[in-house]
């Protein structure tokens, strides 16, 4: 009496799917467009610095609380690790994906793809991960060599020493 498929829901067309994105490390789904640190610097000052600091140092203003974005290299194995895009993030693609979806915090989803590429370029360049004149686009971004690229391992739990 029951069909193996219920048949509820309707086909999601390419147009339906066009507004969604989620960019894995290989850059699949990165949009056309490009940006540079020079353009990003101005955009950052206008849209981001209030919360992330004009030196990208994080949280300059009470009540806004943006993360520190650069610095912290070499601290991960110390007693006071500082985790930033520069020191901790394994993939530059994540930066594009996250800024495009969630920033600026008070008006997320309003930046153009060129603007996002530019902001990514600016942050990576301030982090001295790319050179100031490198252009970020769908091809170059996945190739950016993040300092902590190999810093992650899969979950080794359960920790077997904790069984009797």
């Amino acid at each position: 009496q029951v069909q193996s498929h219920y048949g509820f829901g309707t086909p999601a067309t390419p147009q339906d799917l066009a507004k969604y994105f989620s960019i894995p490390a290989d850059g699949r789904g990165l949009p056309p467009g490009s940006g540079t640190a020079a353009n990003g610097a101005k955009l950052f000052a206008d849209n981001c610095a209030a919360c992330h600091g004009d030196k990208l140092q994080g949280n300059p203003t009470a009540g806004l609380g943006g993360d520190k974005l650069i610095g912290g290299r070499g601290t991960l194995a110390t007693d006071a690790p500082v985790k930033t895009v520069e020191s901790y993030w394994p993939y530059a693609t994540t930066l594009f994906d996250y800024i495009k979806r969630a920033m600026p915090f008070t008006s997320p989803g309003t930046l153009s793809d060129d603007e996002v590429y530019s902001l990514v370029a600016y942050i990576l360049s301030e982090a001295k991960i790319i050179k100031a004149n490198e252009t970020m686009d769908a091809k170059s971004l996945p190739k950016v060599a993040m300092p902590n690229r190999d810093g992650f391992e899969p979950d080794p739990r359960p920790e077997l020493g904790l069984y009797r």
Binding site: G9, N59, A77, D79, T94, P108, E159, L162
Partner: protein
């Protein structure tokens, strides 16, 4: 007979104020359904979830008042919150869930479509893996609401992802699923397909009614036993992929940095954990005598098997009573009859889950994870909690 606005201020959040008669048997009470048909809690009950003072109140969390709770479930109004850019207001008649990626037939579902599928109803806890993040180095927050309040338990109703998977048809090699929220953080997490097919729910019901706005109205992902952040609220999209997406929340956050500088990623299971909620931090025992020590225990890997209680900081352990029915990936309420002799004591609870995993001491845990928390290994603190009892009966959060 609803309270008038002038006196409404007297009632705590979630309550209405009514005058209190000297003898309630001598005056008629309030009429049936005088509240409009949806009731509220008593004006004498005032516990609230409290926001942790993060700099930005839109990306913040509020903690369940475990010290004031009874039973096993969390009242829906007191379920802990963790939002990354506030609570969206979503009209369910306009909400869509799209399922696409490595599938035979990408589909979009209205809420009405979703509700037409068979559903299941299960009780599960949700715990933020950041629960207790302040407690790694030294006892920091005073109450169990502060130390353990990112834990809540509800009855959830929803459609198994496995049912939806049959509709869209899975392509071979689809080993991960991205879940995306419809809040303004557009929250995303990658979930192993194995988990999605085993017990993931697209949950639209909570404790018998629609899921509450703070918990993802109109629909959230429910991943029994997984860390809270993965239970994507306000769910709008599932994308099947051959790899995880390495989103910000699974790289920058919700990873566990070890002492050697390497970070564990996709640490999704919540390890077995328990805590004594009475007596607990910031309470004061009136004097020596009998106390019914009680608390909650839970595991992300199955049922709680047993709970032990110690009154001497872990030197001696006694079995606790289990006061509610153990269910997989659900809290249980436990208790222990304690005759306090008036001398200083250290109360602890320790649980074992049905896999045989034993809740560790903080020493055992930091021996493995390093002691650079909270800035290093921030998450997944499931160590035994200690409450110090002073001779004057006052209880404090201690490391013992």
């Amino acid at each position: 007979l609803l309270s008038n606005p002038a006196t409404a201020q007297k009632a705590p959040p979630g309550a209405e104020y009514f005058d209190v008669p000297d003898d309630p048997t001598k005056v008629p009470g309030r009429p049936v359904a005088g509240d409009g048909g949806y009731g509220s809690r008593s004006q004498f009950e005032s516990e609230v979830r409290v926001r942790y003072p993060t700099p930005n109140e839109n990306t913040s969390w509020s903690l369940t008042p475990l010290d004031k709770m009874v039973g096993n479930l969390t009242a829906s109004g007191l379920h802990f919150e963790r939002h990354h850019n506030g609570i969206p207001t979503i009209d369910p008649s306009r909400h869509l869930i799209v399922v696409h990626g490595m599938v035979d037939k990408p589909l979009k579902f209205t809420m009405a479509d979703l509700k037409r599928f068979p559903s299941v109803t299960r009780r599960h806890f949700i715990e933020c893996s950041g629960n207790g993040l302040t407690e790694w180095k030294k006892p920091t927050l005073k109450t169990v609401q502060g130390t353990h309040g990112l834990l809540s338990t509800s009855e959830w109703t929803g459609v198994p992802f496995a049912t939806i998977a049959r509709e869209v048809g899975l392509k071979d090699g689809g080993t991960w699923v991205l879940a995306e929220g419809s809040d303004s953080a557009v929250m995303t997490r990658s979930i192993p397909m194995e988990k999605m097919l085993s017990d993931a729910l697209l949950a639209y019901g909570q404790n018998g009614e629609a899921i509450r706005p703070e918990q993802g109205y109109p629909v959230r992902l429910l991943l029994p036993g997984y860390e809270g952040n993965t239970h994507i609220k306000w769910l709008r999209r599932l994308e099947v992929s051959d790899k995880p997406f390495m989103t910000r929340e699974e790289t920058s956050k919700y990873t566990d940095l070890m002492a050697n500088g390497k970070a564990r990623q996709f640490t999704l299971d919540m390890d077995a954990k328990s805590v004594i909620t009475f007596p607990s931090g910031d309470m004061k025992l009136p004097g020596p005598g009998f106390y019914n020590v009680t608390g909650l225990a839970w595991s992300g890997r199955g049922r709680i098997q047993s709970v032990d209680v110690s009154i001497d900081g872990g030197k001696t352990w006694y079995p606790a009573r289990i006061d509610s029915l153990p269910e997989p990936m659900c809290t249980v309420r436990f208790s222990f009859p304690w005759m306090w002799d008036g001398k200083p004591a250290v109360l602890q609870s320790r649980c074992t889950d049905e896999t045989g995993y034993i809740q560790p001491t903080l020493q055992q845990l930091t021996a493995i994870r390093g002691d650079n928390g909270p800035t290093g290994s921030v998450y997944h603190l499931n160590a035994i909690q200690s409450w110090g009892v002073a001779a004057d009966g006052s209880i404090t959060n201690v490391h013992a």
